[in-house]
């Protein structure tokens, strides 16, 4: 692989891995505090899966010469993170966490389906392997959105409010970087536009089965910047908290 392609690939892997790490971390905040015991358990499993996915991707990066996963995850600062701003927002109330889960995981399942055809075989393999887990995440998200989204006025209002708030951030998931063309040309990834088109289709189908309304996407300004290391004020405190113990002695084994 050429040096240019390797940079493009790393850029992609960092985006994928950072999204999963940060959202997995955020969702773990619900553990023990969920709305019903069974849901608490299910939501924690998915948070663990996200951590696991990010680890797999950081391991691919390590194979490409980057530092080992713990160092990458626990010692970088916010400007070095490539996650979309959607994933770093605080967990809010459960309606926001569910909407974020729905918007993010729908995109993630599609992304991994597309990546399972990647010309970079190690990534294609990881994508194929993790697809079953993402399938459950989307089944979980769809079931909840469909049920709550056609229930009480209170629940519908909450979800609609969160959907309106989250949507510009969700569009930020599809922010392109300078490597977009190279990734498409090399067959590593089909590109953010195709992913986004598929995503809009999927979420539209689910939302149509509820009383929720998809905001008019043409009037929304996507929140970009995350892929380039520009983040909300929430990311650095999250990273400081995540690394509090690790940084007591980063050379120690924990």
């Amino acid at each position: 692989m050429s040096a240019a392609n390797s940079d493009a690939l790393k850029d992609l892997l960092y985006r994928l891995a950072d999204d999963q790490l940060i959202l997995g971390h955020r969702n773990s905040e619900w553990n023990g505090l969920g709305p019903i015991l069974e849901e608490d358990i299910a939501f924690s499993s998915m948070a663990q899966d996200k951590l696991g996915h990010s680890l797999q991707l950081y391991l691919l990066l390590q194979g490409l010469g980057e530092a080992e996963p713990d160092t990458v995850a626990f010692t970088r600062n916010a400007p070095q993170f490539h996650c979309a701003q959607l994933v770093e927002l605080p967990i809010g109330e459960y309606d926001f966490s569910l909407i974020r889960h729905f918007l993010f995981d729908t995109a993630e399942l599609l992304r991994f389906e597309l990546l399972s055809q990647s010309s970079y075989e190690p990534l294609a393999q990881v994508a194929r392997k993790l697809k079953g887990e993402l399938k459950y995440h989307v089944l979980h998200a769809n079931t909840w959105i469909k049920q709550l989204g056609s229930s009480t006025e209170e629940a519908i209002d909450r979800l609609q409010g969160s959907l309106n708030f989250a949507m510009p951030y969700a569009l930020g998931l599809f922010e392109k970087t300078g490597y977009e063309e190279a990734l498409i040309a090399e067959g590593i990834f089909v590109g953010e536009d195709e992913l986004k088109a598929g995503w809009i289709e999927k979420i539209t189908v689910i939302l149509a089965q509820t009383s929720l309304e998809l905001p008019d996407l043409t009037t929304l300004t996507p929140v970009y910047g995350g892929r380039a290391g520009q983040h909300t004020e929430h990311l650095q405190p999250l990273l400081d908290e995540m690394a509090e113990v690790f940084r007591v002695d980063p050379t120690a084994e924990w």
């Binding site: 971390h25 773990s28 905040e29 553990n31 023990g32 505090l33 969920g34 709305p35 019903i36 015991l37 069974e38 849901e39 608490d40 358990i41 924690s44 499993s45 948070a47 663990q48 951590l51 696991g52 680890l55 996963p69 713990d70 995850a73 626990f74 109330e93 459960y94 049920q147 709550l148 229930s151 009480t152 209170e154 629940a155 909450r158 908290e241 995540m242 690394a243 509090e244 113990v245 690790f246 007591v248 002695d249 050379t251 120690a252 084994e253 924990w254």
Partner: protein, 330 residues
């Protein structure tokens, strides 16, 4: 995880009510237990058996759900991928165990709604050990290892008890806790054999937790009519002292072997009697904490209340007017 403490028994002076039970049914019930058969939810059972089991399983369940909070303190700060994922899985398991145990108690006729109400209103107790704080990551590791170890001693004994649904729940819980024990031991050993800072962290945490750990199994049992009946019915499976001795026997050597010390100058195994000797725990302090005046009682209940309240809209939204409650079957 769970401690029997002293609260899982009815007051010793409470009437047994056995004189009001049908003698033939009672004899059949006792004969079944004596044959080593389990009691299933639809079987006839004496009121005292039902009442005591509900009380015990419910407190066990509360201990799991509240017990997820001290380790939850460090869930966002666990160092490194391996610990981070394992800490999440462990806290998740505690919630899962609560679910299993509430379900087992429900088969005896108390709804989960009523049990959770009694918990958050302070009417029902949970293991006292969770009223202490996890100041550092090392405290969380001590809990993962030694509190779970204590819990396993209890649960392995109770899994041989007579009530089918409780045994099924405990079999699953014990299988899952094998991971907790290893994970906790591994984390503690890493700190104990690590850098001087890590070593100091774990020794300090152990010093903080030793007194609560020594009260984990509760004071010596007072033998009473109740205790005798409950042992015959295989509800109470081992004495508090027996569990404490077994725990010390299994874990003190493992603590010492990695160079850690325990803050009790009198702790030693008497080779003649085969029994561990130790400074008697401060049972007055134990009573004070269990009755609400511990460092974390207020927070633990407030957090549980908040979780219930914050999730109420979700439950309101999904409750069908046609819904009809039926006890779980087994």
């Amino acid at each position: 995880m769970y401690g029997s403490a002293s609260t899982d028994h009815l007051p010793t002076n409470a009437p047994t009510g056995l004189e009001n039970e049908d003698p033939i049914l009672l004899a059949e019930f006792e004969a079944r237990i004596a044959r080593g058969e389990k009691i299933e939810p639809n079987d006839w059972m004496p009121a005292l058996y039902r009442k005591q089991l509900i009380r015990m399983i419910e407190q066990h369940a509360h201990s799991e759900i509240i017990g997820s909070l001290p380790e939850g303190t460090w869930i966002t700060r666990a160092p490194g991928f391996r610990r981070k994922m394992a800490q999440m899985a462990k806290v998740q398991d505690e919630v899962g165990h609560a679910q299993l145990l509430y379900s087992a108690a429900e088969t005896l006729g108390k709804t989960r709604e009523q049990m959770l109400s009694d918990l958050i209103n302070g009417k029902s107790k949970y293991s006292n050990v969770f009223n202490y704080p996890a100041y550092t990551w090392a405290d969380s590791n001590v809990i993962s290892w030694l509190i779970d170890a204590g819990a396993i001693v209890n649960q392995m004994a109770n899994a041989k008890g007579s009530y089918g649904p409780y045994c099924r729940a405990l079999d699953r819980i014990c299988a899952e806790e094998a991971f907790h024990l290893k994970y906790g031991h591994d984390a503690v050993v890493h700190l104990a054999t690590g850098t001087p800072t890590q070593r100091r962290m774990i020794q300090e945490a152990l010093n903080r937790w030793w007194a609560p750990i020594m009260t984990f199994f509760g004071p010596s049992d007072k033998m009473s009519v109740h205790t005798e009946i409950l042992m015959r019915w295989k509800v109470k499976m081992a004495s508090n002292d027996h569990c404490r001795q077994q725990f010390l026997d299994m874990y003190v050597p493992k603590i010492w072997e990695v160079g850690l010390t325990l803050p009790d100058p009198n702790l030693r195994k008497n080779e003649e009697t085969g029994q561990w000797e130790f400074t008697e725990p401060d049972w007055e302090d134990f009573k004070r904490v269990i009755n609400g005046d511990g460092p974390c009682n207020a927070e633990r209940l407030a957090v549980r209340r908040a979780a219930e309240e914050n999730g109420a809209w979700v439950r309101r939204a999904l409750l069908s007017p046609k819904a009809q409650y039926v006890r779980p079957l087994a």
